[in-house]
């Protein structure tokens, strides 16, 4: 496997074309922050089908992918438009099988995190203290119980629930910056992105900016995703809209609040996809279409980190 440190820059179109295939298990991570929306839209544009989407918080981009007919199955721990309302397509599919049924696998947040940890660490299972007495194991055969080989505090046998690994065919995450080899640096809320990348067969990292090697190397602890775990790196400014990129642009709460009404009406939802996804050739057009007013509204000021000294041998 030569070339772990080679130049892996490509376009979002080419990254999705190369790495997301019909029937794949696709993980899209980013907890409220750095949601890979642009990548989700490109998957819609390219008409992928029968995907299993793995995402802790199934929110707007998942609702859009569902509405576009890309998704057969969803694995998640939260299905909602954050605190701003419901996901119309998702609820229709789960509650009424309209326009088509959706296979749904339900975990809690930490259950999902542990599935990524098990996947990243090539473990057959990962133990966690959740689920004891919950009804979730009764509807999710992935949640099972194991007896500890060590005695509990009372000397008796201790039981604990475990979850299985997830090994996505491809994980896609958004980050603030990376070098051309894919060493990716994230700050602010970093969620479970690194584990989701490590758990995957292939990984695409979409970034606000590709920076000079020297920028990344000036702060190696900031690299949460090392190049050897990355297959493609894509520069795509504002690729996380309507979510935010700490230090680059703020969350578009107006859009979040508007989504409940859009997605509650199948016709409006179809029109939205036609106008904003199918009607734009790439994310740069989507951003241009957003317009200067929205960009101004989401602009953020500076709050720079104090530098640390890595030192240099004299």
């Amino acid at each position: 496997m030569p070339g772990r440190r080679t130049d892996k820059r490509t376009s979002l179109h080419d990254a999705i074309a190369a790495h997301v295939r019909d029937g794949d298990t696709v993980s899209l991570e980013g907890f409220t922050h750095l949601i890979p929306t642009a990548a989700g839209h490109e998957i819609i544009r390219q008409g992928r089908r029968d995907l299993t989407v793995v995402r802790m918080t199934a929110d707007i981009v998942v609702d859009q992918m569902l509405a576009a007919g890309c998704v057969r199955k969803l694995v998640s721990s939260f299905v909602g438009n954050s605190s701003a309302g419901s996901l119309g397509n998702l609820r229709g599919r789960i509650e009424r099988g309209v326009p088509a049924p959706l296979e749904y696998e339900e975990y809690s947040h930490y259950g999902m995190i542990c599935r990524y940890l098990a996947g990243a660490q090539r473990l057959p299972f990962y133990p966690l203290r959740s689920y004891a007495g919950s009804d979730l194991p009764s509807v999710n055969p992935g949640i099972r119980k194991v007896a500890s080989p060590f005695p509990g505090p009372d000397g008796g046998t201790e039981h604990i629930y475990v979850v299985p690994p997830v090994h996505p065919d491809v994980t896609i995450v958004h980050a603030q910056r990376a070098d051309r080899a894919g060493n990716a640096q994230l700050w602010g809320l970093t969620g479970v992105q690194a584990e989701a990348v490590f758990a995957a067969e292939r990984a695409v990292v979409v970034v606000e900016e590709i920076v000079a090697d020297e920028v990344v190397r000036s702060d190696p602890n900031r690299t949460l995703i090392p190049a050897h775990a990355v297959d493609a790196v894509v520069e795509c400014p504002r690729g996380a809209h309507p979510s935010f990129a700490q230090g680059y642009y703020d969350r578009d709460n107006t859009f979040y609040r508007s989504w409940s009404a859009i997605s509650a009406d199948p016709r409006r939802l179809r029109e939205w996809l036609t106008e904003w996804v199918y009607g734009t050739r790439e994310h740069a057009e989507y951003v241009a279409k957003l317009g200067g007013d929205v960009r101004d509204r989401l602009a953020v000021g500076d709050a720079l980190s104090a530098p640390v000294n890595y030192g240099r041998r004299l």
Binding site: G80, S108, Y110, S130, D135, K145, G188, T190, V192
Partner: protein, 253 residues
């Protein structure tokens, strides 16, 4: 002062319950208001932890989500989620976790997944999020409900998303925390201390009768021998809530 709203009362009561608390795991909305008010009053050193990974936030403005950028800038620590959920929450560093739910039963077990049958739900709710973990990991859980009614306070849950310690024990697993210890509603406060105890009505909002709470509760509610009457919010508490914490009444609706 304008009359006290239910949201204000619930926030004030929850804040007072946070006296002597070190760390609180809070969601957005009333829990955030309660934690902020506690920092201004009974618990100045209280550390608020969000499931997004933020510890010790010092926000410039009122956050709109638990992952709001204003919670990150100037925070004392921002942890990745495996650390936050694994080491902080499951690891036992949270004294009080705040939760809401669509349904709660007499033992403090919670449903946030579905109304109806899970396989063909009448209403698909958002689901567990981190609630299952807050229940399993925090030493105590406070539930805040804006409206005390029999649709939420049910005899039997449609689905148990986040089980308390009694259900864990019945499942053969030793629980770490005490489960729900306080339920704070627009009518009063229900309390329990831990395993084996039912929620009991311990305090009433001024003007609310025991009978009214019983009628609003879907199971035969236990009532303390002499339930207290909640002290009205003080002018200082109200002023802090209204002026310093949520001047635009985003959550104080």
């Amino acid at each position: 002062m304008a009359p006290v709203t239910s949201s204000e009362l619930v926030s004030v009561v929850a804040a007072r319950e946070l006296a002597d608390t070190g760390t609180v795991f809070a969601g957005i909305g009333l829990p955030t208001l309660a934690a902020s008010l506690a920092q201004h009053t009974v618990a100045p050193d209280l550390e608020v932890v969000y499931e997004s990974g933020v510890c010790g936030a010092h926000p410039d403005g009122l956050p709109e989500t638990i992952a709001d950028a204003v919670l990150v800038t100037g925070a004392e620590a921002v942890l990745d989620m495996p650390t936050l959920f694994g080491s902080v929450l499951q690891g036992g560093h949270i004294d009080v976790g705040f939760l809401g739910a669509a349904q709660i039963d007499r033992w403090g077990n919670l449903n946030s997944s579905v109304i109806g049958d899970w396989h063909a739900p009448r209403v698909r709710l958002p689901g567990p999020g981190g609630a299952t973990e807050v229940m399993a990991g925090a030493d105590a859980v406070f539930v805040v409900m804006r409206r005390h009614d029999p649709r939420s306070f049910v005899d039997e849950l449609d689905f148990c998303t986040s089980p308390g310690p009694d259900r864990a024990l019945a499942d053969g697993v030793r629980p770490a925390g005490r489960g729900v210890t306080r339920v704070i509603t627009d009518l009063g406060v229900l309390s329990r201390d831990g395993v084996g105890q039912e929620l009991t009505l311990t305090a009433l909002r001024r003007g609310v009768s025991v009978e009214r709470v019983r009628a609003a509760t879907g199971w035969p509610l236990r009532v303390a021998a002499d339930p207290a009457t909640l002290a009205d919010p003080t002018d200082a508490e109200l002023a802090t809530l209204r002026t310093a914490i949520d001047p635009e009444r985003v959550y104080l609706r």
